[in-house]
Amino acid sequence: MESRGLILPFAALRDECEILKAYARDVLDKQTLSALDEAKSTLENIQATSPSNKIVRWSIAEERPLCTIWSDGESKPKRGSRHRVRAKFSFVWEIRPIDEKKGKRRKHFLLDGLASTRITLVEEVEGADQCLAQWSIDVGDHQSPGTHFHFQLNGFDQPPFPRSLDIPRLPALMMSPFLAIDFTIGELFQDRWREHAVAETKETNRWRALHQDRLQRFFKWQEKCVMQCTGSPWMALKLAKPPIDLFVVEAH
């Protein structure tokens, strides 16, 4: 058994790429959807052929991001925002496949290393995209300070939040790159995404099935941290490192 990092199932992450494409189709820029196909294929190939003793970068490249369509005022309810913006998504997860018993197909990978999803909101200024906001959703490693799952805002050359200042690490849920996209779309399209995401459709049902169990496990772990702590509950959450098999559904 590995001692650090997080074990995650290949199949669930692969399905996230596939389902997000259908689930969020109406608000994603069609011309960038192939980024999801390529991410899915890369993961399938890591599962099939990458050595289990080598870290591989699984990513959507920053120079070829997945984008949303433009949100024209929809970042506030009733189109009340004055901003016309869209989001660009990229991520890097450093992972390595975990071998099963001899003759068995690999089912899991270990996330241990860089695990960062970057979201950039841009607006159009004189025909070019200009950054309006940027944050990342990161998964820490065994020695990272701050909450293990966190947001960071330090993507800028100048204050506020210059790149050199790596605090605050705002607590986050366990978010795969694709759940982070779901989150951002919900911010960009307040009314529309709420209506879409609460409806009972084939896509929302599949999306829920993927994330429900993972979120449940996350909250149970957080609850346990709070209930069993001796000092400040907040510090307990800040210092807590998830068990490596927190998200393993079946006995590994």
Binding site: E18, D26, D29, K30, Q31, T32, L33, S34, D37, E38, A39, S41, T42, E44, N45, I46, A48, T49, V56, R57, W58, S59, I60, A61, E63, R64, I69, W70, S71, D72, R84, R105
Partner: protein, 376 residues
């Protein structure tokens, strides 16, 4: 099996059989099928039941017995009508035998009746496996056409009979073998997932049609579209190389080693031009960029090293684009040049279709099906 000796038997029904002697000779030279040309009067229960593939001419004018009939219901107006008669007759005689039915015509524009002039679209609309264009058409000289007829007949012969639909495993195994998906390739699982996403009619429908439903799925829903198989335009787009240079490299054989394992070699592999398993290509790209998966510059360096004549294109994405008849154009386009289109019959499981935004101006057909992103 429906063969004379080992060869699949093709029954070709035409009102002027003598005009088809050179065609028959051309097919005969292939040596892979046994083709007989018959006037409608001469079609017998025996040769119909032997046939793996039935071809019928669309325009049937030299048919005296038909003209002498008084009852309209006894007068098949054209090849479509005659094919329906023969389909039902064959089903009555040999209900358990897989058999394909196709039209053989010089007038695809006439029979399209407003549909795009594409054989798979018109065939699907008329309950046929295929429509062969006898004069011209795309990539359609007589030798190629004979080869495609032979390929279709062979693909029917390769269907297991009866179709093993009693368990999911047997049905999946039958399709996997028909597609020649090797179990020893590293990308097998991904490829099979890709196949399943395209909803092959493996069970009740395959059983009901003696497996011909599977063949029809491949002909009408898979091969003409970007699905788990890619054509050369989609391969070029994925590699971010020019279509012309990819074609040159394919013609010269300089890409053979690189993508040989990924090339589709299952049934109908040459029917609409070469195809590659998408997962096989992705696996090759992954291997070429092992230290930086997804990095285009690394991919281009690796391609340049292996195939220097391949012309890489420095664009984040490239798109195959279609014309007003939904044929792919001989060019790839960049992100700013394209708009998504959704032709009526485009399979929901296929990758997106694209057209040049600049073509919308002159094409009512494209304009009608273009999907502009909201707020784009």
């Amino acid at each position: 099996m429906t063969t004379t000796g080992d060869l699949p038997f093709v029954l070709h029904v035409d009102d002027q059989p003598d005009d088809l002697r050179s065609w028959q000779d051309e097919v005969g030279r292939l040596g892979s099928i046994d083709l007989e040309v018959s006037h409608p009067d001469d079609v017998t229960a025996e040769n119909l039941s032997r046939a793996t593939l039935v071809l019928v001419d669309f325009k049937i004018e030299q048919w005296v017995k038909r003209e002498n009939m008084d009852s309209l219901a006894l007068k098949p107006e054209n090849g479509f009508a005659l094919l329906s008669v023969l389909q039902e007759a064959a089903l009555e005689q040999t209900p358990g035998q897989p058999r394909a039915f196709a039209l053989y015509t010089a007038v695809i524009q006439e029979i399209a009746r407003g549909l795009p002039h594409q054989p798979h679209i018109i065939s699907r609309a008329h309950n046929l496996e295929w429509i062969f264009e006898k004069n011209g058409g795309r990539e359609n000289n007589v030798t190629q056409r004979a080869g495609r007829v032979a390929e279709l007949a062979t693909a029917v012969s390769a269907l297991p009979s009866p179709w093993p639909g009693d368990t999911p495993e047997k049905a999946e195994d039958a399709l996997s073998k028909w597609l020649c998906l090797g179990e020893d390739v590293s990308w097998h699982d991904a490829a099979w997932r890709g196949v399943r996403l395209c909803r092959p009619p493996l069970h009740e429908f395959a059983g009901h049609t003696q497996g011909v439903g599977v063949l029809r799925w491949a002909l009408h829903r898979v091969l003409p579209y970007p699905t788990f198989l890619l054509d050369e335009a989609h391969l070029a787009a994925r590699l971010r190389v020019s279509l012309q240079s990819l074609r040159s490299c394919l013609a010269s054989g300089s890409l053979e080693t690189l993508f040989s394992e990924a090339e589709y070699r299952g049934q109908l592999s040459g029917f609409l031009g070469r195809r590659w398993w998408k997962s096989g290509i992705e696996a090759e790209i992954f291997e070429l960029t092992a230290d930086a998966p997804g990095d285009l510059s690394v991919l281009h360096q690796a391609l340049g090293h292996r195939v220097p004549t391949l012309e890489t294109v420095d664009e984040p994405r490239l798109f195959p684009v279609m014309d007003g008849q939904f044929y792919l154009k001989d060019q790839l386009a960049t992100q700013v040049e394209v708009v998504e289109i959704v032709p009526d019959d485009w399979p929901p499981f296929a990758d997106e279709a694209w057209a040049l935004r600049s073509d919308l101006e002159d094409s009512l057909e494209l304009r009608a099906i273009a999907i502009e992103d909201e707020e784009a």
